[in-house]
């Protein structure tokens, strides 16, 4: 069973080396790929120094395109399972290892690490979302649950593990703008087994969230449009 862990990174030179070291320690058997999304700082150099393989996009393409690069690499490289986590240090690698174990055991095709899941809150009080993020989270949670008829608590989580069926799907279709939410909707609509696992998350190590109230409102509106349109997309039968 070959596994790949990939980290989409955009201007994360400070936090990234720590994340790589964490992954190496917690998941020693996996290959590691950093997808550098056209960073202007030394993200790629730091990643190489830390011993990771780096795939650099020539210009910033957005999180969705970076994640898709990882899925495409995993598919082409013949990996059986893959996982990804954020580069800012919010995601402990030992939690990612738990997600990978879930996919490896074939209990699900796609596993999402959820910081809001009932089991997650009891374990830690580490993660405290901001007000606008809480609103956005509950709106998306409601509509995604409505759209998929499956309960999701953490729709925007960037900590996930997947098998080859998901790699094949996501390397073909992946929304560049609304990566996290639309991909969940897509996976469920294709009949894949999507599961949430409660995980522990930390405060971000560096940088600040891009979400100001106005941008949040726009983000939510855009997300709802994307979800609505997604409901009318054809259900493809994936051939892989």
């Amino acid at each position: 069973m070959r596994s790949l862990v990939f980290i989409p990174a955009w201007n994360e030179e400070d936090a990234l080396p720590g994340v790589i070291a964490d992954v190496r320690k917690a998941i020693p058997g996996a290959d590691l790929l950093v997808v550098d999304d056209g960073s202007a700082d030394a993200t790629a150099e730091r990643a190489r120094e830390a011993g990771a393989l780096v795939a650099s996009l020539p210009f910033n393409q957005g999180l969705g395109a970076a994640l898709q690069t990882g899925y495409l690499y995993a598919l082409r490289g013949g990996y059986d399972v893959c996982a990804h986590l954020d580069a800012d240090g919010q995601h402990p690698a030992e939690e990612v290892a738990r997600l990978l174990a879930e996919v490896t055991a074939d209990r699900a095709d796609l596993v999402i690490g959820s910081r809001y899941h009932a089991g997650a809150v009891a374990g830690s009080g580490d993660y405290r979302p901001t007000f606008s993020r809480r609103i956005g989270t509950s709106v998306f949670r409601f509509f995604l649950t409505l759209a998929t008829r499956q309960r999701f608590t953490d729709t925007t989580s960037g900590m996930r593990a997947a098998n080859r069926r998901v790699m094949a799907l996501f390397s073909r279709h992946y929304s560049p703008d609304f990566a996290e939410i639309e991909s969940l909707q897509l996976a469920v609509r294709q009949g894949l087994r999507v599961e949430e696992l409660p995980v522990r998350m930390l405060e971000r190590a560096g940088g600040s969230s891009f979400l100001t109230p106005l941008r949040s409102a726009f983000f939510i509106f855009k997300g709802l449009v994307v979800l609505l349109v997604g409901q009318f997309r054809p259900r493809h039968v994936e051939t892989e």
Binding site: L32, L57, G77, G78, P176
Partner: protein, 150 residues
């Protein structure tokens, strides 16, 4: 002027002067497109719609009666309203067409960037003799084949 037009519906008020100006503009427009194609600044496949627009302008200038016919077909009394509606709809359609083309090209650029990033990463991996990356160099050499098998 507006009142006069409203009072006499179905009449197209184009003096021969405006007709000549419109025809000249249409001809100039089409020549400009021809020149753009000649200099490789515009691809033929995107020029067809503009030639059609130019011909439409020319036809309108040559036969003002056409506009009246179209206005009647649309059920619009004022030919000016008909003209502006048609032009507006055409421009809307064009703008939408451009959005579609833009989306397709954005997707293509993204895929190109991804392919190039992956290629470079694989080349780097091979060059390093795969130190500290688990998989062997052999496997990295045949990514396509493995992807198809999987």
């Amino acid at each position: 002027m507006g009142l006069v037009l409203a009072a006499e519906p179905g009449q197209v008020h184009l003096t021969s002067q405006t007709r000549i100006v419109a025809a000249a503009l249409a001809l100039f427009f089409m020549l400009m497109i021809l020149e753009l194609i000649r200099r490789d600044r515009l691809q033929e496949r995107y020029s067809v719609i503009w030639f059609v627009a130019g011909l439409g302008m020319l036809a309108g200038a040559a036969f003002p009666g056409l506009l009246e016919v179209v206005a009647n077909l649309m059920g619009v009394r004022n030919t000016n309203v008909a003209l502006f509606s048609i032009v507006l709809l055409l421009l809307l359609g064009l703008a939408l067409n451009f959005s579609v083309i833009m989306s397709r090209q954005a997707a293509q650029i993204t895929r190109l960037a991804q392919e190039r990033a992956i290629e470079k990463a694989l080349a780097e991996k091979r060059a390093e003799g795969d130190i500290g990356n688990g998989a062997s160099g052999e496997e990295a050499l045949q990514p396509e084949k493995q992807g198809l098998e999987g």
